[in-house]
Symmetry: C2
Subunit: 325 residues, 2 copies
């Protein structure tokens, strides 16, 4: 920049003015500076700019796996772009230590705010950052033990809706195959399922199967649910990955067992019958997260909000299969 100033024969400050489109520079000088910039191949350095300005115009997104389908992240990117903010994302790989490393890196880089899919239940490392003014919004899961903005899906009502839908189609013995209950969403969904069964006067017995997603476990769960004296006639799955696994193990039986999957996915319409799902409103989640983050950045004293976004049941066929006589 100092070279550009020398080349153009102006003061350093004037180059800065030209670069920032300040109107108080005469057209002749603007021209000279422009030429000098082109001649010297000057490229502004945002590090220095951000350092001086205090803000970076950058949001961080720490998600479980960048390279997985994540429609919320897409909405986050779009909403941020609309607000002229750059989103830079990194994976936490479902690893608490990596999450901490990623988030702390973003803090040291002084990102203006962070969108986080929190992992595990100890987020103590966030406390000093929050005290120092970090703007953070949790997505999909809350930050346990900390009073932090968050945007969640209405997991409970998703399960309830699915359950009622199956009951309305004549099912009485409905099984649930879910993820490891140490995961917040899995816990919420399983607990909602328990409440449904109890309210409906049924027995949990062989109807509830949760745990780590693992080929053998899913297979065993499907078998257990469909066998015995009172086999299930319908299954609800706890997430998209489990829908896939359950379908894999159902095999040809898929046409006889009603199935509702949590989470919509591309393959839902590839199957026969198409998969009935409880779909999250990922666009709403993403845009809400950015709105909340921007509000907090603008005014750190904004009171903490916990937003729950409704889910929607999309009937496509698999959830409307009647119980085998």
């Amino acid at each position: 920049m100092v070279d550009v100033a020398r080349e153009a024969g102006v003061a350093l400050r004037t180059v800065s003015r030209v670069v920032n489109q300040d109107s108080t520079v005469g057209p002749e000088l603007v021209q000279r500076v422009r030429e000098a910039i082109a001649a010297l191949g000057y490229r502004p350095d945002e590090r220095a700019r951000h350092l001086r300005l205090g803000v970076t115009g950058t949001l961080g997104a720490a998600v479980r796996q960048l390279s997985h389908v994540n429609p919320v992240l897409r909405a986050v990117e779009r909403a941020a772009r609309a607000a002229d903010l750059m989103v830079l994302a990194a994976s936490t790989e479902d690893d608490e230590n990596l999450e901490r490393h990623v988030v702390e890196s973003m803090c040291r880089r002084r990102f203006d705010g962070i969108v986080l899919e929190p992992i595990g239940d100890d987020h103590g490392y966030l406390v000093p950052e929050l005290e120092a003014g970090l703007s953070l919004v949790a997505v999909d899961r809350p930050v346990l033990g900390l009073d932090v903005d968050c945007v969640l899906s209405d997991n409970r009502s998703g399960i309830e809706t699915a359950y009622r839908h199956l009951v309305r189609h004549g099912h009485d013995r409905i099984a649930y195959i879910g993820d490891d209950e140490r995961i917040f969403t899995a816990q919420e969904r399983a607990s909602a399922f328990r409440a449904c069964v109890t309210a409906h006067g049924g027995l949990l017995d062989t109807m509830l199967h949760t745990g780590r997603v693992d080929d053998g476990r899913v297979h065993a769960a499907v078998r257990a649910a469909l066998s015995g004296p009172a086999p299930a006639t319908a299954i609800i799955t706890g997430n998209a990955q489990l829908s896939v696994e359950v379908l894999r193990h159902l095999g040809a039986d898929a046409v006889d067992v009603a199935l509702i999957g949590f989470d919509d996915s591309e393959l839902a319409t590839l199957l026969r019958p198409d998969l009935t799902v409880v779909a999250q409103d990922t666009t709403a989640i993403g845009t809400t997260a950015i709105d909340m983050l921007r509000a907090r950045i603008a005014d750190p004293s904004t009171e903490v909000r916990k937003v729950t976004v409704p889910v929607e049941l999309i009937a496509r066929g698999s959830g409307e299969i009647p119980p085998a006589s």
Copy 2:
């Protein structure tokens, strides 16, 4: 930092030494500085650090869609992490203007290097950046017109392998349904297919269908390929998305038509029969990209390399269906 120094009663430089684990600080001072850091909630500012150091220890990844399945990105993140580099990723949404915006932002932030999935064919905006020392590696597609490091899959041999595989299983009339040939990989794959048909003495006729992925077009292509006096008995698809679409339109016929899909995917083993695919070695692509990028960062005069990574045919059933008698 100056506050910490005052609090601890030491010089600024000494705080810096403690933060950077410099061994030339007495244990007593280290202790005092540590306490001051904790008391004041000091958090180092990487912007200033990077400004002073010149490097940022950060790589950018500009990919088409963060929120899509992208195993190459996963490998890139892992390889970078192993080298103690942080990867920050952003989507280009298949939009040339957005690509430019994202890449230029990363340049202004002085990322040490960028992994790019290039879009379109005018990358002139990169020239001044490269001249100014930008380290860049293109992945999946080359940067047309510019001599830049890149890592590509062996698209041609993937198609050839699939073609030969089908011939070996008795097929004679093999159709190809591919993506828009304005996309580099789609062009390469379609062109390889043309060469296969010609070499095999067949007619392209109703056998080659390329264009934008669109419901109607794919449907029409499938119909055209399977009808007429000499219908295809096997289909090769140009990418994972097309495999899905083609399967959707094949419907119940899927058991009668041999199918080989380009790109492996989760649902390949969900179908019956399981999908035979040409799988890219995404791990090799990602790690190679990072290796090349690191080499270029270390020595910008390294000569430009264009690496082609082999692909592998994974037979799972759908590609071994014999031609209908």
